[in-house]
């Protein structure tokens, strides 16, 4: 019998360490926001009102629900309900795609109004509004990239579950992908009120 090196707790802790660096990455952007909002408070409120709260609110519900489905997928695999686990992964990916479609319509609308980095409309609105939208596009864009990566990761894990490589006995890969997905949710939990809800 070959002795296999395996440390699931260590693997999870490694993932948490990586997530700390992700938090630091996004915190830099939130810090820029914090500094700019104290300098250009009125312009930030004006700019925030140009965003559609409902796009943001719907996407919040979509992401919270996807966090639920991936959390349920872990319970499913622990209970050896392989079919349920795969279905929950598929629902999570579908919700991720829904989030991105919603984002596409939101950004298309804003771009049609002439609001995009370095546009003439933004230059006319002054440095405060311009800094809000530059930061908004960069933070939401980086977050969107994470949605894409997270969904891909969950897709790969779902295939491995289907092939019996990720099982009720070893599912740390699913756990770590889920942790990444929850981080995407956590970033949105702060992004949504700061960009869409300030009045």
């Amino acid at each position: 019998m070959s002795h296999e090196h395996r440390d699931d707790t260590g693997a999870r802790f490694g993932m948490w360490l990586f997530l700390y660096t992700e938090v630091i990455l996004f915190s830099g952007l939130f810090l820029l926001y914090g500094v700019a909002v104290t300098k250009y408070t009125d312009a930030y409120i004006l700019a925030s009102n140009k965003l559609n709260v409902w796009f943001g609110a719907v996407n919040t519900v979509v992401l919270l629900t996807s966090s639920l489905t991936i959390a349920l997928a872990i319970t499913a695999i622990q209970r050896n309900r392989i079919r349920t686990c795969i279905n929950l992964c598929v629902v999570t990916i579908a919700l991720a795609i829904l989030f991105l479609i919603n984002k596409y319509f939101e950004w298309s609308h804003e771009i049609s109004l002439g609001i995009y980095p370095a546009s003439e409309t933004l230059l006319e609105m002054g440095p405060g509004v311009a800094s809000f939208f530059n930061l908004y596009y960069f933070t939401a864009g980086l977050h969107g990239l994470h949605v894409l990566i997270g969904a891909t990761l969950i897709g790969v894990v779902a295939v491995l579950v289907a092939r019996g490589k990720v099982t009720s006995d070893r599912y740390v890969l699913l756990e770590n992908s889920a942790l990444y997905w929850h981080l995407v949710d956590l970033v949105w939990i702060f992004l949504f009120p700061l960009y869409y809800l300030i009045i």
């Binding site: 395996r6 440390d7 699931d8 707790t9 260590g10 999870r12 802790f13 948490w16 360490l17 700390y20 938090v23 630091i24 915190s27 810090l31 914090g34 500094v35 104290t38 300098k39 709260v53 609110a57 919040t60 519900v61 919270l64 629900t65 966090s67 639920l68 959390a71 349920l72 872990i74 319970t75 622990q78 209970r79 756990e175 889920a178 942790l179 929850h182 949710d185 956590l186 939990i189 702060f190 949504f192 009120p193 700061l194 809800l197 300030i198 009045i199």
Partner: protein, 98 residues
Amino acid sequence: MSEEKHEPVPYRTFILTWVALLVLTVITVAVAQVDLGALNIWVALSVASCKSALVLLIFMHLKQETLLFKIGLLIMIVILAIFIGLTFTDVLYREVLP
């Protein structure tokens, strides 16, 4: 590190957490419709912190993890608080200087 298996968290716990998160979302959107001045941002951040706590402790299984995971997160939060706090000691008092 030990290879202990976590007990599966019941579906019910996750669904209740999700309901709580939706309720908090409704609260944060509702509060944003009323002008409370500077208080708005603090309410929004408090609600966001509560939501994060739920996601971290329950969805991310932090409650079940060993002390190491909890201390790790705490250290990260302290580091965040230091670098955000120190930045603001500069930004907020910069106008005093010529």
